[in-house]
């Protein structure tokens, strides 16, 4: 829910509640005031009446006066004295054709030697009318208030929140491995200025940590190159010794294999940093099918040994505008994985159409398929690989804007690469 909608929603709820609660309160309060005022009025009338009556001389005049002034009603009475009392009553109004409420003051009055009961009445404004009036006024007020609020808020959100949304946009676009720094728009609102300062600080810190870590991997791998070179060279010298026994030769052989593995691991780590550092920039036209053929030629002995049959389905030769080294590493890693890990005596399928490459091999499912592209994940640690092959594949896809999707279907591992920039070059 958007911030604006959320605030407005709360305001509307509050306003509705206020309306419900305040209407009866208003009604009671206004009515109370009104009645009190009316009572005063009634007593005032009584006083007036008494004053006027003093001036009258005959009973006839009194009767006349009473007829002219409808609010007074005199009735001869024998009950005496009569205490002042105020009460409500309704009377049918033939003009309005409904019962109309009145407030009345009952009192006693003496004229000559006769005693009268005097009732002075005042019509009360209808309850329903009063309530309706109050509700209408209140609703109008609230509607005006809310519309004003929404309009002002919307305007504010355009003006004030504008810089917030700009900051948000920049933040969404920021990539720690690509952008060196983040530049945020200047805001006149103090809170957003604070926010953007905090973000810049955070981004710089993270970026530095990221660079440190990257640099460390790179430096560590570089620094290891020389010791590995020395180790390997000494082994090769040892190998030249003429009087080696079988056991010694075997030991040296194992050491050589281990050194190879170490060298390969280190090479892949360096390769990964280099890809991350965007050091492979040259773009050429690469023919994927031809490259696959070339690699399969190299891998044929492995396929033969593992009795894995290779089925190629190439409907189109696919030409890419990409870095040739990276594409070769990508294909090499995918193909060698498929051949290396395919169940023996099964088929590895390589399918190329005008935009995608599919490499499929049979095998047991991965324990955690969502982590296969991570460095040194468990699956690869169990095998003889360096644990970096698929991480490199993923990185290459990232820098070249290819999309790689992994799926496990009918006990087949499928890696599908969708290439973004196919080239229109036709090979000569």
């Amino acid at each position: 829910m958007k911030l604006l909608r959320r605030t407005v929603k709360n305001y509307i709820i509050y306003a509705a509640l206020l309306l419900v609660i305040s209407t009866p309160l208003f009604y009671v309060a206004i009515r109370q005031l009104f009645i009190r005022e009316m009572e005063e009025e009634l007593f005032h009338h009584k006083h007036n009446f008494e004053q006027i009556v003093k001036q009258l001389e005959t009973e006839k005049e009194l009767q006349l006066f009473q007829l002219i002034n409808e609010e007074f009603k005199l009735t001869e009475t024998s009950t005496w004295p009569i205490a002042d009392s105020i009460y409500n009553y309704s009377r049918y109004d033939s003009l309005e054709r409904k019962s109309v409420p009145f407030r009345a003051l009952r009192t006693g009055i003496e004229f000559g030697n006769k005693k009268y009961e005097l009732v002075i009445r005042e019509s009360i404004v209808g309850n329903t009318r009063l309530v309706a009036a109050i509700v209408i006024i209140q609703v109008t007020l609230l509607v005006l208030l809310l519309t004003g609020f929404i309009i002002i808020n919307r305007k504010l959100s355009h003006e004030v929140w504008d810089s917030f949304y700009k900051i948000l946009d920049k933040l969404k676009q920021y990539k720690i491995d690509e952008d060196s720094f983040i530049s945020l728009p200047h805001s006149t609102t103090a809170e957003f200025r604070d926010l953007s300062n905090a973000i810049v600080l955070l981004v710089n810190k993270s970026r530095n940590a990221y660079l440190d870590q990257k640099e460390f991997t790179e430096n560590a791998a570089h620094e290891l190159q020389t010791p590995i070179a020395i180790f390997r060279s000494k082994l090769e010298l040892l190998m030249q010794a003429t009087a080696l026994t079988k056991e010694q030769a075997e030991l040296i052989g194992h050491l050589l294999d281990t050194t190879d593995r170490l060298a390969k691991l280190n090479k892949n780590l360096l390769l990964l940093s280099k890809i991350e550092n965007r050091q492979f920039l040259t773009i050429e036209t690469v023919a994927v099918g031809a490259l696959v053929d070339k690699l399969l030629d190299d891998y044929e002995p492995l396929a033969n040994k593992r009795a894995v049959h290779i089925r190629k389905e190439i409907t189109h030769e696919l030409y890419l505008a990409a870095n040739p080294i990276l594409v070769e590493i990508l294909l090499s890693n995918l193909l060698s994985n498929a051949l290396r890990y395919a169940t023996a005596n099964t088929e590895v399928l390589i399918r190329i159409d005008h935009q995608t490459l599919l490499v499929q091999n049979q095998g047991a499912p991965f324990k955690s398929p969502d982590k296969i592209f991570n460095r040194f994940n468990q699956e690869s640690r169990a095998s003889q690989g360096t644990g970096l092959g698929l991480a490199i594949v993923k990185k290459i896809c990232e820098v070249e804007n290819f999309t790689i999707v992994y799926a496990f279907l009918n006990s087949n591992h499928q890696f599908k690469v969708a290439f973004s920039r196919t080239s229109n070059f036709i090979q000569n």
């Binding site: 060279s233 030769a249 002995p301």
Partner: protein, 224 residues
């Protein structure tokens, strides 16, 4: 044949010297750029191994000064940084080759012998060993004048072994040499065994003596 090894890591430098000595090269060592420049000024070398990460400056500076004197021919750069920029810069400055640490000594041996062959035997592009002759330009092999039908890999393998003749070459080095720079190298060496078997068969069938010896558990040796 004189070779200058410019390498600040003494252990690696002595390994290289020891390995190359078996091929009757005369090796000299320089541990810094300064030392290298002094030696280059005094002597002529057939081949210079130049580490470009030296304590007293970039080895590329040494290369630049070599180029100025017209001596850059025959330089093989060795570097711990497999940087494309350095490689291009080095080759543009006239270096012959670029080798990344950690390399196999046999790979280095093959590269050095290629450089020296090219420098020493200008015009003569055939490598002859008794009845065996390898035409380096045409990439064809003859035994007593008869042409051998070798695959590309078999030819590369033979040349690699011959370039390291009388020394044991490990399966690992052969695998790396044959699979090229970027390809994923397998920890499985059966394919080398297959190539060796075919090569030996073709050579002996053509009447060549069986020079390729299997060294148990380690690799192969071309013995003459």
């Amino acid at each position: 044949m004189k070779i200058l090894i410019v390498e600040d890591e003494p252990e690696l430098a002595t390994s290289i010297v020891q390995y190359l000595r078996q091929e009757s090269y005369v090796c000299e060592l320089a541990f810094s750029a300064q030392e290298a420049l002094e030696k280059i000024a005094l002597h002529e070398y057939d081949c210079i191994l130049l580490d470009i990460n030296l304590p007293d400056g970039n080895g590329l500076a040494v290369l630049e000064s070599l180029k100025k004197d017209g001596k850059a021919d025959g330089v093989i750069i060795i570097s711990a940084r497999n940087s494309i920029d350095d490689k291009i810069k080095g080759l543009n400055l006239g270096a012959d080759d670029y080798l990344v640490k950690p390399f196999h000594l046999s790979e280095l041996g093959a590269r050095i012998s290629a450089v020296i062959r090219r420098k020493r035997f200008e015009g003569n592009t055939t490598l002859a060993l008794h009845e065996l002759a390898i035409d380096l330009i045409g990439k064809v092999v003859t035994v007593n004048g008869t042409l051998l039908e070798l695959t590309r890999k078999e030819y590369d393998l033979l040349l690699f072994l011959v370039s390291n003749k009388n020394r044991v070459v490990s399966k690992n080095a052969i695998a790396e040499h044959l699979s090229g720079d970027m390809a994923e190298v397998f920890d499985n060496f059966d394919f080398i065994y297959a190539h060796i078997k075919n090569l030996k068969k073709k050579l002996t069938e053509a009447g060549c003596e069986d020079y390729i010896k299997t060294i148990y558990g380690l690799g192969y040796k071309f013995e003459v």
